[in-house]
């Protein structure tokens, strides 16, 4: 099974000892677990210096032979969002990661300019509800952002970090309501979570995420391998859907 990971990271990590810091480190871990490509954001951009983080992630991607697909992060309280995104797109960025709970952008209106610019530059927008499944990390509720999904129908939105219970069911509802919404699996840890999504929603918009290297990549892959769904559906989630989505971006 070819595996593409839609929820990777590159960079130093200050929250617990982690040996993978560089793009090369992440590629080595991907190799150890059979991950062919990963969409990556910068750990530096998560809470520290987003400009330097974007420079880091673009450089790591440029050295990866196409295996690391860079998504950038922007402090959208700054002016010139559209111009910045144009620069990043020209430098190879395929999308944006928004961290509402980390960046205090929990009002959807705060993200409107960013979504408009993403639409102009055909960039994917990832709304990160939780960066990784860690009980010490902040979590954003997805419901307030629903208006953006309808307001920008030409933007492809990836909802990142939903876990079990009502979050998982809410993801199903969004997938069934908005044709421009995709869900990734890195934090979906309830028993039979992937099979439930497949049973109730469009499998063509579910993306494998492992959270490499912040989460054990084996965990994200195992839950897809063991999911009670067809081999074709596993292939779609493992990489074909990501392939199709990334083709959207210029």
């Amino acid at each position: 099974m070819t595996v593409w990971d839609f929820s990777g990271f590159v960079g130093a990590w200050g929250y617990w000892p982690l040996k993978e810091r560089t793009g090369a480190d992440v590629l080595a871990l991907m190799d150890a677990h059979g991950i062919a490509r990963a969409v990556v954001g910068s750990t530096r951009a998560l809470e520290s210096d987003w400009r330097q983080g974007n420079a880091d992630i673009l450089a790591a991607a440029a050295e990866s032979g196409g295996r690391l697909v860079p998504f950038v992060t922007i402090d959208n309280t700054q002016s010139g969002t559209s111009e910045l995104l144009a620069e990043y797109a020209a430098a190879g960025a395929k999308g944006i990661r928004c961290y509402p709970s980390h960046h205090h952008n929990t009002l959807p209106s705060q993200l409107e300019p960013l979504c408009a610019a993403a639409q102009d530059h055909e960039l994917i927008v990832t709304l990160v509800m939780r960066a990784i499944m860690d009980w010490s990390f902040p979590v954003a509720a997805v419901e307030p952002f629903e208006g953006l999904l309808a307001q920008f129908p030409d933007v492809q939105f990836v909802i990142h970090g939903l876990n079990y219970g009502q979050e998982a069911w809410h993801g199903i509802r969004l997938l069934n309501t908005y044709p421009n919404v995709w869900l990734e699996t890195s934090c979906l840890q309830g028993l039979g979570g992937i099979a439930r999504w497949v049973a109730h929603a469009d499998v063509g918009r579910i993306l494998l995420g492992t959270g490499v290297p912040l989460q054990y990549p084996a965990c994200g892959i195992a839950k897809l391998e063991k999911a009670e769904i067809s081999a074709a559906d596993k292939e779609a989630i493992a990489h074909r859907n990501a392939q199709r989505l990334l083709a959207y971006s210029t």
Binding site: I132, D134, W135, F137, Y164, G165, Q189, C219
Partner: protein
């Protein structure tokens, strides 16, 4: 031998699950797990004696696969807990004790210590859904008990502070850490082994709440030796319970 130290049976409308012993055994078989150490959900949050009796009957049906925890909710610590422990040991051969608070009130109170002491006298491990701070206090007050910190700090209750759990285990040699959690932080198992060794880490899945394959992969996919994986997956629990293959 793989032993899952953290399994729930029963029906929970609170957590949207329903699992019979047969359901759990099917999950175990699908994932190569030999024995399930089970707590009954009814006993934890509704009726202690009814739930423990239900589990006891399952143990009699599957003595080679099911190990039982006597489930003791906080409100029962000084309300028949010691008698319930003795009863479940003698009637059903239960091997461990699960202590749990619902609603979320502290486990540590004067009445918890006799429960720990009774567990120690029966050589029963205690699975405590608790925080590192509480586990430190319990382990230091009753060091002869085998206290297992459920989820190793990876819960909302314990603020996800698994490194604090490791520190607690470093300071208290009788404290063990159980692995089940939806958090799967890369490097956490390697770090834990570097600080306390592999002998006090206990494998659990929290089935049927969590995806079993994820919990298995947390151990099997970690960058640790096969010998360490074997201890975590079942060797440590087998040693504690004096089980043989």
């Amino acid at each position: 031998m793989i032993i899952d130290a953290h399994v729930h049976v029963g029906v929970s409308t609170a957590y949207n699950f329903s699992a019979s012993i047969d359901d759990l055994l099917r999950l175990a078989d699908d994932n190569g797990i030999d024995k399930l150490f089970v707590t009954d959900f009814t006993a934890l949050i509704h009726d202690m004696r009814e739930g423990n009796d239900t589990l006891g009957r399952s143990i009699r049906q599957h003595p080679d696969r099911i190990l039982g925890y006597v489930s003791i909710p906080t409100m029962n610590f000084d309300n028949g807990a010691l008698e319930e422990i003795d009863r479940c040991v003698h009637e059903y051969g239960m091997r461990g004790i699960k202590i749990y608070s619902y609603p979320k009130i502290p486990l540590v109170r004067p009445s918890v210590f006799p429960v720990l002491e009774r567990a120690a006298s029966h050589r029963m491990p205690i699975l405590a859904h608790s925080t590192a701070e509480e586990c430190e206090e319990m382990a230091s007050r009753v060091p002869e008990a085998f206290l297992m910190m459920a989820h190793s700090g990876n819960t909302a209750l314990a603020r996800g502070d698994w490194m604090r759990a490791v520190q607690a285990a470093e300071r208290n040699p009788s404290l063990l850490l159980e692995t089940a959690s939806s958090a799967v932080n890369n490097g956490s198992l390697e770090y834990t082994i570097s600080r306390i060794g592999p002998e006090r880490i206990i494998f659990g899945t929290d089935m049927p709440l969590l995806e079993v394959s994820v919990q298995m992969a947390r151990v099997s996919g970690a960058a640790i030796s096969q010998a360490d994986k074997d201890l975590i997956f079942g060797g440590n629990m087998a040693r504690m319970l004096a089980l043989s293959d």
